[in-house]
């Protein structure tokens, strides 16, 4: 069985390449609060699949380009 899964994201980088899109702007386009975008960006909140797809849609990329995962801890 795999160890713990750490979900990582490239939102900061994608915002930069989207003409330095603000967190507020991304929040409005994804239909969430700025607080939620801050939490996702800093890894404090894992979004639902629905929200993850909506964020990817805002940037016009595939979900795998926004979110990725790392396996931490020991494999059993």
């Amino acid at each position: 069985m795999a160890g713990n899964i750490q979900i990582t994201n490239n939102i900061r980088k994608l915002r930069f390449f989207a003409d330095e899109m603000t967190q507020q702007s991304l929040a409005e386009k994804a239909g969430v609060s700025r607080q939620t975008i801050i939490a996702i960006e800093s890894g404090k909140y894992n979004p639902s699949l629905d929200l993850a797809f909506r964020i990817a849609l805002v940037f016009g990329v595939k979900i795998g380009e926004v979110f990725d995962y790392e396996i931490t801890g020991e494999n059993k």
């Binding site: 969430v32 609060s33 700025r34 607080q35 939620t36 890894g43 894992n46």
Partner: protein, 165 residues
């Protein structure tokens, strides 16, 4: 501090004042002997009145809070354009999936604490503790549970929350 955090802090302060006022009032009544300890009807009436006051106070505080937020946004944005202010307020007040998850997790804490208070009250009754003490313990456990809910909610907003954790 985001809108939801500010609202939680306001509810927390409201809850603390409510709890403190009730404790002082109930203790003074109990000490003065105005109400007989066995007079459960009077105690129930006091609690009902306090619940009513609590609900009215919460509604008034919510209205004042909205006014305060609107004024602070108008000052921050340096505008008197009502549409722009309303748009910013609406953007701040969005309740999304993270808010719902935090609410769900923190209300669980409240239910657990209230449940423990109820259970402790039943056990106290078995050991012949006066009914008025048991009734107050149950009432206070609900109020304290609500406070803990606010504190845990603040903790989750500050430290993050994970799905399924």
């Amino acid at each position: 501090m985001c809108y939801q955090e500010k609202r939680t802090v306001m509810n927390l302060l409201n809850g603390i004042v409510f709890l403190a006022v009730y404790c002082v009032y109930a203790w003074s009544k109990y000490q003065s002997g105005v109400i007989e300890p066995g007079d459960l009807k009077s105690w129930a009436l006091i609690m009902l009145v306090f619940i009513g006051i609590g609900i009215v106070a919460t509604i008034i505080m919510q209205i004042l809070f909205q006014i305060f937020i609107a004024i602070s946004i108008a000052i921050e944005e340096r505008t008197e354009d009502e549409k722009k202010i309303n748009k910013t307020i609406a953007a701040n007040m969005v309740e999304d999936e993270m808010d719902k998850l935090i609410e769900l997790k923190s209300s669980k804490v409240s239910f657990i604490f209230a449940g423990i208070g109820f259970f402790a009250g039943l056990i106290a009754l078995v050991f012949n503790v006066p009914e008025v003490i048991v009734l107050n313990c149950m009432f206070l456990s609900f109020a304290a549970g609500s406070l803990l809910e606010g504190i845990y909610s603040m903790y989750l907003y500050r430290n993050g929350v994970k799905n399924g954790w």
